[in-house]
Symmetry: C2
């Protein structure tokens, strides 16, 4: 196993988790900057060619993990591996962002949902998508369809 | 920062990296099993509802990192953050798999590209796709289009 190390940090408009939009159909349009440590700048070579990136980052303000939890917009509990809960056995977050431009060690992106100052663990190119017509989205689709209407939080 | 811990292990047909299909347009159709440690089984609750999963795993047979490297099907070097190279500052792999069925602590999946015995770090539901018409794929698209034809390895 390994000990994580930051390759950079997120600049985000969100200083507190309460500020991050949550809920059904929420679109993360917030812009932010991924600032990579100068020692890793060479690793960004050719990244400008990709429109979208996977960002792996650390839930560094989350403690411990919870195997069952309720997301903010559904009061039914779901397994941690069926949600994006921050309280995970390995506290790794995953966000897809749109790369707007690169300025040296700065990647200007759209779609951040991390807190300001979050440690970045890795960046990977987003190379292909599963066609949306092939996706089934379990409990999330049920909540969206209102099957759980009596218990949806506003 | 944190020290990684396995939540389970991959059973895959691939015992050696040379057996993993690589190259342009390669489709990962291999079936495998993600076996989750019994202590984390509750975390799988409701996962059956999702057709596709993100699997985060550890490049546990890779040593160190390389900021510039050439993928097997392009001899031009690219930055590690613009490739899926195993030699990364944090040795974390990411694969999207199709969930075929769950049997207790076993997730039977299609699309494995990990080595047999690989440590799993996390599983997350795949909730939405970037429409393929919105994607730009940089050097990868160039190689596909044959712009680098003189140097493409067969």
């Amino acid at each position: 196993m390994f000990t994580s190390r930051p390759i950079g940090f997120v600049s985000s408009p969100y200083k507190d988790t309460s500020e991050i939009p949550k809920g059904l159909g929420v679109k993360h349009e917030a812009e932010g900057v991924l600032t990579i440590l100068p020692e890793f700048e060479t690793g960004l070579t050719d990244i400008e060619g990709f429109s979208h990136l996977f960002v792996l980052w650390e839930f560094d303000r989350s403690q411990g993990f919870e195997l069952l939890g309720s997301p903010p917009f559904d009061n039914r509990p779901h397994g941690v591996f069926a949600t994006r809960s921050p309280r995970r056995p390995n506290p790794i977050g995953l966000t897809v962002v749109e790369l707007l431009r690169r300025e040296g060690i700065e990647l200007h992106v759209r779609g951040v949902d991390m807190l300001d100052g979050t440690s970045i663990l890795d960046i990977k190119p987003y190379m292909s998508s599963i066609p949306s017509e092939s996706l089934r989205r379990g409990w999330l689709a049920e909540v969206e369809a209102g099957k759980n209407q009596g218990t949806v939080l506003p």
